[in-house]
């Protein structure tokens, strides 16, 4: 998965800039959204294959995994679910963990408000399921040039969903053959993917203290409490820092700009 570098999005939004886009049919916009997401979809498939391998190792059937892909459709949450997958399934803990990890979709959903202006509730309900981090990022980039529509977003969602399903299913096949996943450090793949995703969310020096607090609280709570509460505890504790210290780190921003 390629991520946006500051304001420059490396994924080429394969669209033309003619103002006629608003008069295009929804089908055409959907197609453009699909094509614009193809570069990022390649990496989605690649890291989906890791999830497939891990799922097969946990004894999760391909049909369960496919159902998860189609209904949950959120990479990080699915990694955590697979990680927690051990009989008897901790169903409530799992749903809580997914809720916590996907809290960011509140923000993502809220950020799409301008795109959905004037749309019916039914339209919103139909379009919002296929919003993943990747097609959201591509759509927001396209939106800055004024060429994104809800059909564009949905087309991107279809593209990412196809790649996600293809990758995980292929990985699931492979996972059935891999005898000793520890030898290939596949158990570390989850940590590595999330370390990378975390770094990609770094906003600059203002994050130093919140992240320090989050890490310390998470590690501490993980030792003290059973279950996945440490995710929520660390996340909330860290995010409270900029609330209590609104200008923390801001004064340094000008001095060290470019490093953040």
């Amino acid at each position: 998965m390629r991520l946006p570098k500051k304001d420059k999005f490396p994924m080429q939004v394969a669209v033309d800039h003619r103002p006629s886009h608003l008069h295009e049919t929804a089908a055409l916009q959907l197609r453009r959204g699909f094509i614009a997401n193809l570069p990022v979809a390649a990496s989605v498939a690649a890291y989906g294959s890791v999830l497939g391998v891990l799922a097969a190792q946990k004894g999760i059937g391909w049909s369960t995994l496919l159902l998860m892909n189609l209904s949950v459709f959120a990479g990080s949450a699915q990694f955590v679910m697979v990680d927690m997958w051990a009989p008897p399934l901790p169903v409530v803990e799992m749903i809580m963990a997914v809720l916590i990890i996907n809290m960011r979709y509140l923000l993502i959903g809220a950020s799409l408000h301008p795109l959905f202006q004037g749309k019916t509730l039914r339209h919103k309900m139909a379009m919002m399921h296929l919003v993943a981090d990747e097609n959201w990022a591509v759509t927001m980039a396209a939106h800055r040039s004024g060429i994104a529509t809800t059909a564009f977003l949905f087309g991107g969602g279809l593209c990412v969903l196809s790649a996600w399903c293809a990758g995980t299913m292929l990985g699931h096949r492979l996972g059935a053959v891999v005898q000793n996943p520890e030898a290939y450090a596949l158990d570390f793949a989850f940590v590595a993917v999330f370390t990378a995703l975390t770094v990609s969310l770094w906003r600059g020096r203002q994050d130093v203290l919140p992240w320090l607090v989050a890490a310390v609280v998470a590690v501490g709570v993980e030792k003290l409490l059973p279950g996945k509460w440490y995710i929520l505890a660390g996340g909330i504790a860290g995010a409270l820092v900029p609330v209590l210290r609104p200008y923390g780190g801001q004064w340094r921003k000008g001095k060290r700009d470019g490093l953040g």
Binding site: A77, I95, M103
Partner: protein
């Protein structure tokens, strides 16, 4: 077809997770007019994605031992330089696999 391995608990977990995720996606859009656009709440919500993912991963890095920490640091640097999550993941996994293979 192996639908039989989908027991009730698995279906409940998956559909519960799906409902929670969809609720957040649609909820964010529907609440967007009502959510405070500035102040403490906004700063909290803006900081949350990073702190949550870090909290998710920090105990796992610690549990993976010193080479796990080296691998995680290499993954982080690679992401920082290339912004490529997939490549960075490969870097971390290869380091852990290699050190295990060498018995380090």
């Amino acid at each position: 077809m192996v639908w039989d391995n989908m027991d009730m608990a698995a279906i409940t977990a998956v559909l519960g997770a799906a409902a929670a995720t969809y609720g957040l996606r649609l909820g964010g859009l529907l609440l967007s007019e009502r959510l405070p656009q500035n102040g403490g709440f906004r700063r909290f919500m803006e900081a949350l994605p990073g702190t949550i993912l870090l909290s998710l991963v920090a105990p796992g890095i610690l549990a993976a031992g010193p080479w796990g920490a080296v691998a995680a640091a290499s993954t982080a640097v690679c992401t920082w330089k290339t912004r490529n999550v997939f490549l960075s993941m490969i870097v971390g996994v290869v380091i852990v696999a290699a050190t295990r293979r060498l018995g380090l």
